[in-house]
Symmetry: C2
Subunit: 379 residues, 2 copies
């Protein structure tokens, strides 16, 4: 078990984050800052002691009965969650876990406290090569055709399609990936055990079988309206690029693209007939928000892979790398290959952790296997 900055063991931190995620609405930056500064466990203890109430803006925190003991809180909120998770086969990952996708750190204080995951896929590995496909619920046949083709092409090229499971573009993108037996990930606004929309229960079950369902909402949490906007930042942050396929002038898809651009992701949109209101949002972001026009799945991949390549050239300082990857990369000698054991020792990590980080660096084209060991890849 690892140890985090504030000295709390990972499982203590996990419990504290799980408590906070049930008391507070996701994405609250003031809470995120407090957790960063003081550690989740301390924030929980202070809240229980009534010394430092949870951020007023989160609202729900006010429901924690003052005077509740830490043990009582664990019994009331954490244990039932673990039992439910066990029953439905979900897991709660937090920063520091091997499956935690390091690109979520780009969200800084708006990063999720933790993520509920359900599904066969390893989110961190899948998210290394992931592209989000978003757009209108009331999509046209034109837009759904594009989304389906895009999902299939990404899957065939070994890229994960991330979307939100909604009607229209989202579902078409997921289905395109599933149609070629590819992996796809769905970020839900409610709990990972709450199929939403209800008529997509089968689709979500298929996504879970081959990929992963993701949510920062508590298990059983309803897909409430305000959660869709905060959910969109996760779709953006989890992907290396976001593609808007169809969108009306006012649409949630545009907010995802805006989040993605703020995170320095590749942002793309498909044009359509100027006579179609469902393409007006795409045209607006191309025209006014420096979103790149794309006309085929091939162009989408070329742009994202192009960015990947150009980012890699300044690799040692790459802010996209997690701290483990950065330490491991530093531990790989510049000239001759080194064995895993010595890389792990130099990086101060366990063998499994070091191996995972090497896998990431390999996928990013920064290191490569060389005989029995690992070497840096020439730029």
């Amino acid at each position: 078990m690892g140890v985090l900055n504030d000295g709390a063991p990972v499982e203590t931190d996990r419990c504290a984050r799980l408590l906070l995620s049930q008391w507070c609405e996701a994405g609250d930056q003031a809470l995120g800052a407090r957790v960063r500064e003081r550690g989740a466990h301390t924030v929980v203890e202070e809240a229980l002691a009534g010394h430092s109430p949870l951020p007023a803006s989160t609202g729900i925190g006010a429901r924690v009965p003052s005077g509740t003991t830490y043990d009582a809180a664990i019994r009331r909120w954490v244990e039932p969650a673990w039992i439910a998770a066990e029953r439905i086969g979900a897991r709660y990952v937090v920063p520091g876990d091997l499956e935690w996708p390091s690109q979520l750190d780009d969200l800084r204080d708006a990063a999720p406290l933790g993520l509920w995951l359900a599904g066969a896929g390893d989110l961190r590995l899948l998210a290394l090569r992931s592209i989000s496909v978003v757009g209108a619920r009331s999509a046209t046949a034109y837009g759904e055709g594009i989304a389906r083709e895009l999902g299939a092409h990404l899957a065939e090229s070994d890229w994960l399609t991330v979307s939100g499971g909604a009607f229209g573009i989202d579902a078409a993108a997921h289905r395109g990936a599933l149609a070629v037996n590819g992996a796809t990930a769905c970020v839900l606004a409610g709990g990972v055990d709450v199929p939403y929309p209800r008529s997509h229960a089968d689709l979500l079950a298929r996504i879970r079988d081959s990929g992963v369902l993701i949510s920062e909402a508590p298990l059983g949490g309803a897909a409430m309206r305000h959660r869709f906007l905060t959910r969109n930042r996760l779709i953006a942050a989890l992907s290396r690029g976001s593609v808007l396929v169809e969108a009306a002038l006012r649409s949630g898809g545009r907010s995802t693209v805006r989040e993605a651009r703020a995170l320095n992701r590749v942002v793309m949109a498909f044009p359509g007939p100027v006579t179609s209101p469902m393409s007006a949002g795409c045209h607006a972001v191309i025209r006014d928000e420096a979103v790149q026009l794309v006309t085929s799945p091939r162009e989408v991949l070329a742009l994202v892979e192009g960015r990947l390549t150009s980012d890699d050239q300044g690799c040692a300082d790459d802010e996209d790398l997690g701290w483990r990857e950065r330490r491991v990369l530093d531990a790989v000698p510049a000239r001759r290959p080194a064995p895993l054991v010595s890389i792990a020792r130099l990086a101060g990590l366990g063998l499994a952790e070091a191996m995972t980080a090497l896998g990431t660096l390999d996928a990013l084209g920064l290191v490569q296997r060389a005989g029995e060991g690992w070497a840096r890849r020439a730029a």
Copy 2:
């Protein structure tokens, strides 16, 4: 009658340019440079004397029989042209004429030697507010609808629609302007008296009635294939902005947009379905050539008028102004209005010329009437 740089009176220069335009293909930059350096009349005299043959690349010049006298050349090539022009009601304008559109000077050595014009409109005045609308001959109903609406909207907003009279987008744009009794101009690849395509004879007659037909090809000249590309630079140069409505990946419309961009004009394109090959060229220029995506006539005008406004702010150095306009602008006092007579005297121009230039400057928002005289307009 004015006097040009090399001392040749305007009518001598006009005859020389008319001769060269019949001997040589349009757009030859080596010839343009020689005319700029030595004057058209000297270039003609040297060619007739066999001292300095016309540029080999122009080909046709070789057909001038060596030993032809200047008078013989006038009799053989100029007089028939004047007679034909008289008969069909065409005019040949050259740099220095009041109707010469000064933005053609942006073409530098590729500027036309002169232009044949036929029609009711004054080209220089019309071209002050002109936008070219170009695109595929084999346009779809979608593209033709856009072009027609654009032509009509431009006409209603007092902007000239410039196009090439071809099937498809060109014709739809012209017809859109004509439908609301607006002015439109057609730049032909053959002579202004040669309807091309033949089935557009009626359309071209209507354009002539309300606007102007333009060509640098000799009267009676055929619309030869290579003339379309050189013609496109005139469409681009005559307009403040160029709009590509529909274009296949390989298309003449793209060359017009490329010319327009090289001339620092506003370049725009309409998107369409990614499934339509006739929109692929539009998407390519938006994606790869920094052409601005537009979705409505209103956006087209906003972009062009926006550029006009921002250009005006550095007005004194504005390279778009002709030498007359610049001299007149300098002659308008910065603080108090001045009468036309004193402005004309200060600018060293005749009253009519000064008045024309003031009209141009007024249209550009640089000067305004003030009582009995004229004043600068505050930026």
